[in-house]
Subunit: 252 residues, 2 copies
């Protein structure tokens, strides 16, 4: 029973202030994860965490003109982006370790690569072995070496989709700043089974927009075939406890 | 033309003082690497660096009873070992970056795994793509997830042997504290073509001794079939310049 949970970058950081953790939300997220995975009878086993970049990775990527498709051959630019993400990852890990969550870092710059078509390979053996040994792998948006491009951006969302497919995950959770996918009245859409259901209020989804908005997230989650939930930070515990908070996205 | 160069842990750290870099030797090593790879007509392209643990990784591994075969399921022990190696890796990277060497870190805890037989897999795509994009991947001894063992030790020497084979390397260099493999009179043996040549003065090689002494290093280097050199820190430039310092080990 593999669960992939993504903590959005804008959930755990303060987007308006460069390289600033949102202490309250990150602490609450760490509490919820600890409640679910630590102890003799955990609600969730085989949990993989992914976090986004928020005010850590994004400003550096933007400054250097690096996207998921356009890379940099300047090692200093690559290390700027990576260094900021390491700092955020250390903040996440330390909150988890303080609560006895057996979290281990998996840094994509060390573990992943894109070929010339942009297709991603990564050390899935490492993630699987960590799960098998009772650890909680923690991945994150990062720089990634990219054939012909130097180092480009790998988003947390892209990682989530690949992990869900490669680990044959049972459930995916996307913890976002909003309580779910919202309709035109701002109400949470309880269930999405096909992209046509929501096209009218999400608008089109540009396939290259992998770090982007909700439309792209919904489309790629539908493609994985793994049931996914989009919810706000106060529903992490409900999701990890097996509940269905926010919007359920399931193409099956 | 792929070259794998290992900087021994006892070369770049002060073994008698916990978590202390040998500033002079590390600086000289970084100078030699920069002279060989930076500039319009570098003597060495496609360089992979590996460094050992020295006084950073080893004391923590010993304290927690973790070896290449015996692991720990305690995330704090794993993070102790990994954290010390990250600190040393940052020290190595910063010296290289200061000299414009386009070095990128590849942390084995993020990128590698052992199966139940101890067989290592790792993100070789990442290393190859870094090389193809003109970066210098820097790997190091580290903790590694190990099926059935938790996290065990992956030595720099084991990485060197795997990288040499997987990247079809042309040359391997082991920079050690001694100027080469020494005979019983303390003189450098110029060439070793078979283990029988040196059995008398190196003694037997225990196959499990992968972080261990010179005998194990020589035996595994002979097995790779890639020409290798064992030399002291003042011969890094000569090796990277295409010379044959110290002891040449070549089974071909």
């Amino acid at each position: 029973m593999v669960t992939v949970l993504k903590l959005g970058g804008s959930v755990i950081t303060r987007k308006e202030r460069p390289e600033t953790v949102d202490e309250r939300t990150l602490t609450e997220a760490a509490d919820a994860v600890a409640a679910a995975v630590v102890g003799p009878d955990p609600a969730t086993s085989d949990l993989v965490l992914v976090h986004g970049g928020g005010s850590f990775g994004h400003p550096h990527a933007k400054e250097h003109g690096v996207t998921t498709a356009e890379g940099t051959s300047d090692f200093r630019a690559a290390m700027d982006i990576h260094g900021a993400m390491l700092t955020l990852n250390e903040a996440v890990l330390s909150r988890l370790h303080d609560r006895n969550v057996p979290a281990l870092p998996v840094h994509p710059l060390s573990a992943a690569a894109r070929d010339e078509d942009g297709t991603l390979s990564y050390a899935v053996d490492t993630v699987e072995t960590m799960l098998g040994e009772g650890f909680v792998p923690v991945l994150h948006g990062d720089g990634v070496v990219h054939a012909g491009e130097g180092v480009s951006v790998l988003s947390g969302d892209e990682l989530v989709v690949r992990l869900a497919a490669d680990l044959d995950a049972d459930r995916v959770g996307l913890c976002s700043t909003v309580p779910g996918v919202l309709d035109l009245d701002g109400a949470v859409v309880p269930e999405i089974g096909a992209f046509e259901d929501v096209h009218d209020y999400l608008g089109g989804s540009d396939a290259t927009d992998v770090t982007g908005g909700m439309a792209g997230k919904v489309r790629t989650l539908l493609e994985t075939g793994v049931p996914a939930h989009v919810f706000g930070p106060d529903a992490i515990d409900e999701f990890l406890d097996g509940g269905s908070p926010g919007t359920r996205i399931d193409s099956r």
